[in-house]
């Protein structure tokens, strides 16, 4: 069975299915109850599971920190953080405990927790509603960092995340929540750590995830070359092999992300390509990213977030080098 859903619907159906399937799943966060979350991703869930869907006080350290305890008792906490940057309020609990519980105790206590949150720009929201700190999260050993880019992938990835024995930071691109529908198959898992080749080509490789994947797919329509587009889907663990194999074929690569350029994931990917496909590289790895400025308020946001034009220019630069 399958259903045509938007991404936000895919999140909801996944949560519904997992609540149904596994009595230990708890869905909680600010406004996830009656109101169904600010994006309605949890709408209706509390009606069917009033004992396992909870509105929390406005306190992200509390949300993340109680998850550590819930998990220890055998529950499977699936927390919603209202916007990515508010996870910073619970950053210490994430880095000091969620990520490390397994390693601190040699596997005798674990933290199978999923922390979902919208990230990135594009919906003209308030300040600090458009961040994407995936590089920071990926730099914390013990975490897994996952990015869906379509409704069907959301279902597969979120299902895997919830069932995974280790913590997952699950970053949902705000502006794809309602941007399109597609068939979403029932009960399927997409393994964490496996990239997807979204488009095949042999002139240049573009690596992009989340909402930037959609922008990239738009951008390549105007590029007169065979572009291979890779969606890593999880940034940690990162499927280096798929990226490296592609670059060995194309010799050129562009990495796209919304986060600021410096110390963003494009650097990491560049490094891995360097290490494993150095002799195949015909051009420097191009970075098309946000700038090293705080994401501006929405009047200037469109000028900050990479768009199809900027991605297209990046691809051209990669193609024209040398």
């Amino acid at each position: 069975m399958s259903e045509r859903l938007r991404m936000v619907g895919a999140v909801r159906e996944t949560l519904r299915d997992e609540l149904e399937r596994d009595d230990s799943v708890v869905v909680y966060g600010e406004d996830v109850g009656e109101a169904g979350g600010v994006f309605r991703a949890t709408q209706g869930l509390v009606d069917d599971h009033p004992d396992r869907v909870f509105n929390t006080p406005v306190a992200e350290a509390g949300i993340v920190g109680t998850g550590v305890g819930l998990a220890a008792t055998g529950m499977r906490p699936v927390a919603e953080i209202q916007f990515q940057s508010f996870l910073y309020q619970g950053f210490h609990q994430l880095a000091q405990h969620v990520a490390r519980m397994r390693s601190r105790t040699r596997g005798t206590v674990t933290c199978p927790m999923t922390i979902r949150m919208p990230y990135g720009g594009g919906i003209h929201a308030l300040e600090l509603h458009s961040e994407s700190f995936e590089a920071g999260f990926s730099h914390i050993p013990g975490l897994q960092v996952v990015f869906p880019a379509s409704p069907a992938e959301t279902k597969g990835l979120l299902t895997s995340a919830i069932r995974d024995p280790d913590p997952v930071v699950f970053m949902e691109p705000t502006r794809l929540y309602r941007s399109f529908r597609e068939e979403v198959p029932d009960d399927h898992e997409i393994p964490l750590g496996e990239a997807r080749v979204a488009e095949s080509g042999d002139d240049v490789t573009v690596v992009a995830w989340g909402s930037m994947l959609r922008e990239t797919l738009d951008a390549i329509e105007d590029v007169d070359a065979n572009v291979e587009v890779i969606d890593p889907r999880t940034l940690y663990p990162l499927d280096t092999e798929t990226i490296v194999d592609s670059v060995k074929k194309t010799g050129r690569c562009v990495v796209v992300h919304e986060a600021p350029k410096t110390a963003g994931m494009a650097g990491e990917i560049t490094s891995r390509i360097n290490e494993e496909a150095f002799l195949y590289l015909e051009a420097p790895v191009e970075r098309v990213t946000g700038y090293d400025v705080p994401v501006p308020m929405f009047a200037r946001e469109d000028d900050y977030v990479p768009d199809a034009d900027r991605i297209e220019s990046g691809i051209r630069r990669a193609l024209e080098f040398g």
Partner: protein, 359 residues
């Protein structure tokens, strides 16, 4: 010992002008007619701004906007009690307080247009921009109140936040630091009974929010937040204490009569009945009757106020639109550091090279 009481605490609650228009004459603050009219006008100005802003947002002209409808007395009453050089440290729903402190209407609109221009603090004025992360700004207010004390200045920092914010550890830390450093800070918690969809009963088991002060060893007091005279009175006293290094938490009991923000639909989580109940307790209405009863407000004055507000608003909207038109996107590079680092300069050049807008 062996089983004895070692500490005792009481939370007081104050009301001057009740819902039914009875007045405790002993407690009425010493304000002249002009001042009373100013309280009234600021509340109306904020109400009209919110109404216009919602309408503009509905037409796609503004971004997400958080109206303060119903909370005007809680803010205007307290902000009016501030001295000229005191600091306003607001959250995102503080139109009434901002206007009372002199922030111009077009600035508020520009903020709602997604422009940092709307968060500028005019030279020489004490204040911080609206804080979006819930509960994060009280710590800044503690820092300000501490800094003023360190510099032997008499100024007080007044920070506003909601019932939801009291769940954030930061707010507790802010009060605790304030207690330790005798910070010249007043914490105004507007208990408007909702944090987006989450009712106060889900936010805490504490029966009052004023009692959160007890944990920090500072004073906490409750006031009817829809009673502008009560709020003024309590705020004034709190500020005098704070000026002497005794920080105070005020819980103003009020109600968010409208949506959380323009992206919110309250019908998903609360009944119309409840809203109707609070409409009757509206702070502006209550004060209007008070002023009329005492002959301070007549139709003529009322009309003059309305006209003034409408024309100010019309002007502000025009100004904001023009500023929005003239906005330079490249400004985002210009205010990150005092001097632009070379990597940023290169990004800026690339941006400009792409024709601005990254195109």
């Amino acid at each position: 010992m062996p089983d004895e009481n070692v500490a005792q605490f009481t939370i007081r609650s104050v009301q001057v002008l009740a819902e039914d228009e009875t007045v405790d004459e002993e407690l009425v603050p010493d304000l002249d007619d002009d001042e009373l009219l100013e309280l009234y006008e600021q509340m109306k100005r904020s109400r009209r701004l919110d109404e216009r802003a919602i309408a503009l947002q509905r037409r796609g002209e503004l971004g997400t906007y958080a109206p303060a409808i119903g909370q005007e007395a809680a803010q205007v009453g307290s902000a009016f009690a501030m001295a000229e050089d005191d600091w306003l440290v607001p959250s995102f729903r503080e139109q009434p307080a901002l206007l009372t402190r002199g922030t111009e209407l077009h600035s508020i609109l520009e903020y709602a247009l997604g422009m940092e221009e709307g968060a500028e603090i005019p030279d020489g004025e004490g204040g911080l921009p609206p804080a979006i992360p819930v509960g994060s700004q009280p710590l800044h207010a503690t820092g300000v109140g501490w800094g003023e004390a360190l510099q032997d200045r008499p100024n007080v920092a007044v920070t506003y936040f909601g019932d939801g914010a009291t769940s954030q550890g930061d707010v507790y830390e802010a009060m605790n630091f304030a207690g330790v450093y005798d910070a010249q800070t007043v914490f105004v918690c507007q208990n408007n009974r909702y944090a987006i969809s989450t009712g106060i009963e889900n936010q805490t088991e504490a029966e009052t929010l004023a009692q959160k002060a007890i944990a920090a060893g500072i004073d906490g007091i409750q006031v009817d937040g829809n009673d502008v005279l009560g709020v003024y009175r309590v705020a004034r006293e709190a500020m005098e204490k704070a000026r002497n290094g005794e920080p105070v938490l005020i819980e103003a009991l009020t109600y968010r009569r409208s949506m959380h923000t323009t992206s919110d639909d309250p019908s998903a989580y609360r009944e119309g009945d409840e809203e109707a109940e609070w409409e009757a307790r509206d702070p502006i209405l209550r004060f209007q009757v008070y002023l009329e009863d005492r002959g301070i407000l007549d139709d003529e004055t009322e009309d003059a106020i309305d006209d003034r507000i409408e024309s100010e608003l019309a002007e502000a909207i025009e100004r904001a639109r023009a500023d929005r038109e003239a906005l330079d996107p490249a400004d985002m590079f210009r205010h990150v550091y005092a001097e632009m680092p070379s990597e940023l300069e290169r990004q800026y050049e690339a941006f400009e090279g792409d024709g601005g807008g990254g195109k």
